[in-house]
Amino acid sequence: MTPDPFTLSHWYAIGRIEDFPNGYKGEHRILSTDIAVSHHGELNVTGPEGSMGVQTRYGHVWTTLSRDPRPLYNMPEFEEEGRRLVTAGAIAVRCSGLRAVENFLDMAHFPFVHTGILGVEEHAEVEKYDVSMGAAGDEIWATKCRFFQPMAAAAAEGGQVIEYRYRVAHPYSTILYKTCPLRDGHWDLIGLFIQPTEEDECIVHSFVLVFDEHNTDTDLLHFQQNIFLQDRMVLENQVPNKLPIDPRWEMPTRAVKSHGVTWSTTRFEKVA
């Protein structure tokens, strides 16, 4: 299946900047398409139709199959003083990238999948939260998400109710803004940049961008990878492994439906 125009119109992260040092040459894949990446003084990405767009941002290298891509969304937090960026590397998962987004947007699994870290079974209730379109009409935000967490971040001590905001600015990318346990009025960012390789396979690049004076980068890395690998086991065991467009599931369905996304999805009726 050829990707739908909306899916094709985006920039996709293919790795961390430091994974492509000068002299690098390698084969990669996005949207069921082989691409070649090389770095000789400058980065070059070549696809079946020749040279492709390339940019470095948010700690990663991005490319696109589109000749006229939508601009990559803005995260002004990357320019803020005092934050630390930790990139967690490329982790491959046998599922639709949209399934990985669905999982990331979902607090209800914390007590069961991230037991004792992001949730506890005694506090499994998910309260109402707000869902709205972003200012330009092309983003979805879920705000006022509150959840009790025993160990919300590597820097957290003891349980607390954490406020979250989720941002879906791109069908294969999602960012979580989480109240910073160290700085009032600030948010810590955790995000996924997903590289969809096939309709049912993806590579997840994740990052944390936080204020944290207690932990080393490696502590933060281990915390993040621990959580993500707990999710990976779930993601590889969902049937079907493409995303069913489920009318009862507001966030991903809105994001996917309003833009005519079909690649990497199945219609809900088929699996119900």
Partner: protein
């Protein structure tokens, strides 16, 4: 005691498991194995010239290799003497045999996992086929142990042989290796996760 540790490493997990069973205090020194390849850095090669984790430091002693560390910890700190039983020569040999076997699991099942999960470039079909050959041997042995009324690899009680084989067997599905066709292995995994002092790692499903 200090353990050079990586959260996603099954070999480090072996050590965390035994330290947990023995209820010993230790300090973790997290290593950026992926994506940073810190274990291949000049600084780390001074700690382990093989460029591998785990490494354990206990006072002046520094030990590399998960199996060697298990032997060290069990023989030094396990007062019960059950994790590494030393009375019978044949049982010592039996434990040693499974410790060696577990390193073969590392080079097959763990390799498949590194390929599927972290994008390592290696022959995935060979890794999976090799893992299945070993899993058949393990399945036969565990089933035959059950005929003898034994729940564990080397006798009636769990030993470091079980600890050493457990992680990469239980994590095999991360590398696309199905476990559902090995019923005796599945029963053994369930018994293992029910042990007092057991703790999990991501990729291992523990249903109480």
């Amino acid at each position: 005691m200090k353990l050079y540790d990586y959260v996603l490493s099954g070999n480090c997990y072996k050590i965390r498991l035994l330290l947990g069973f023995l209820d010993l205090d230790y300090e973790k020194r997290p290593v950026d194995f992926f994506p940073g390849r810190e274990h291949k850095s000049d600084a780390f090669l001074k700690i382990n010239p093989l460029g591998q984790i785990p490494v354990l430091e206990d006072g002046e002693i520094r030990i590399r290799d998960a199996q060697a560390i298990l032997i060290y910890l069990a023989s030094r700190y396990d007062k019960s003497g059950e994790w590494f039983p030393g009375q019978s020569h044949s049982q010592i040999a039996e434990v040693a045999q499974w410790l060696a076997f577990s390193d073969m699991i590392t080079s097959t099942a763990s390799a498949a996992r590194l390929h599927d999960m972290l994008g390592y470039n290696l022959d995935i079909d060979a890794a999976r086929a090799g893992a299945h050959r070993l899993l058949r041997v393990l399945e036969d042995h565990l089933a035959h142990q059950e005929f003898d009324g034994h729940d564990w690899l080397a006798g009636r009680r769990p030993t470091i042989a079980d600890i050493s084989c457990f992680p990469y067997v239980a994590l095999a599905e991360d590398g696309g290796i199905d476990l559902f066709c090995y019923p005796a292995i599945l029963r053994w995994i369930r018994r293992f996760t029910a042990l007092d002092g057991f703790h999990s790692m991501p990729g291992i499903n523990v249903s109480p």
